[in-house]
Subunit: 199 residues, 2 copies
DNA sequence: ACACATTCTGACACTTAGTGCAAACTTGCA
DNA sequence: TGCAAGTTTGCACTAAGTGTCAGAATGTGT
């Protein structure tokens, strides 16, 4: 709505950012478990109690913005014309999000390194993904006029998530021979035409 | 090796079982977070410290045996003849495991109820599943003579996991119109012949 | 039956995450 | 200016999980 945020919001965003930077640096230097909330708070010049005013858990510092992506997927999915098959709609929506990821590779790798190396963060990340799956499933079920517990919408949602997760993993692991959207597109094609064909 | 376990092993198994029973009952009665380790230990007639000798975390009481299933999958997968396509091998292996699940419905539901209702347990469960995916991916990669970071083995593994997870969810949610192996078989067929076809 | 190694159990002290509460302080707005 | 709402902090508290070590129970060999 307003271009200029109030002083209050600007300061809040600033503080949040300061905490995030301090934490990510300490995580990289000392490891996630070793970097205590107290140390992070001290580095970010706030009290430990204030840390929890911004983040519900230490894990959330790593995964914070990560969460906003779901909204983008759902939003995209809702915009697809009803003439498309469910799978076509899914594919189009997920490709948009893949393109988003593509633009932030540097920041993401920093975070993925922590996720991969820290069980508790990994667990939380999976939990978020599971939430996405639920929401995509529900959205899909409605579009298809089926029960939310129906097998099909869930399978479609889970497969789409599997596609993006596989692509992401490959994209991070290899030095990106292909762009992320290409990889995702690839996976979707395989799933679309049937896994029996895969060598 | 030996049919009769020593007194030591029998007692250990017995204690483990006692802890498990006490915990599961308290979880059901008070909720997972409300049931403290101290209360569980007291109910199982052991010291709190001993609880952690048997389980690394409270979550593991719910998910303990759950872990052994991976071995079954991998074992099955290793047994499939090399003439089968990767997908055929996956399908056959996962169907065996689905049949295993089928026989323990009652006990599973008790646990699933806790998993579904407790974020931290759910998170840990997902973490285990993620470990399975990694292992299945690696096994598959070897069978296919590809790099472990290759896109394809991961996509196949993730899809198979998606199939069993979707089936399980549906099987628990509905009052089992179909058997679990039927549901899994169904999902595999969809993935095999292509999701484009799905209504 | 005896001694010896291994494994199990418990007690104690400790670190850290996370919550509830209420008081102090800052900003937005009339 | 002054009041309402939002932000920051300190303090006290619960509970999970770890390290350490001493002592009890058990398995094994003689």
């Amino acid at each position: 709505m307003e271009e200029r945020l109030g002083l209050r919001e600007r300061k809040k965003a600033q503080t949040r950012r300061r905490i995030e930077d301090a934490a990510l640096e300490l995580f990289a230097r000392d490891g996630f478990d070793e970097a205590t909330v107290e140390a992070i708070a001290s580095a970010a010049d706030i009290s430990p109690r204030t840390f929890f005013y911004y983040f519900a858990a230490k894990e959330d510092v790593v995964l914070a913005d990560y969460a906003g992506r779901l909204d983008r997927i759902i939003q995209q999915l809702a915009m697809r014309p009803p003439t498309e098959t469910p799978w076509e709609a899914l594919r189009a929506s997920f490709l948009v999000v893949a393109a988003d990821y593509e633009t932030e590779r540097a920041g993401l790798i920093r975070r993925f390194r922590i996720i991969a190396g820290t069980p508790s963060v990994h667990a939380r990340s999976l939990q978020l993904q599971s939430g996405w799956e639920d929401t995509v499933t529900a959205t899909l079920a409605e579009r298809m006029n089926r029960e939310p517990q129906d097998l099909i919408p869930r399978l479609l949602a889970a497969s789409a998530l599997a596609a993006i997760r596989s692509s992401l993993q490959n994209w991070i692991a290899t030095e990106s021979k292909s762009s992320l959207p290409e990889l995702v597109n690839n996976c979707f094609t395989h799933l679309e035409s049937g896994l029996a064909r895969v060598s």
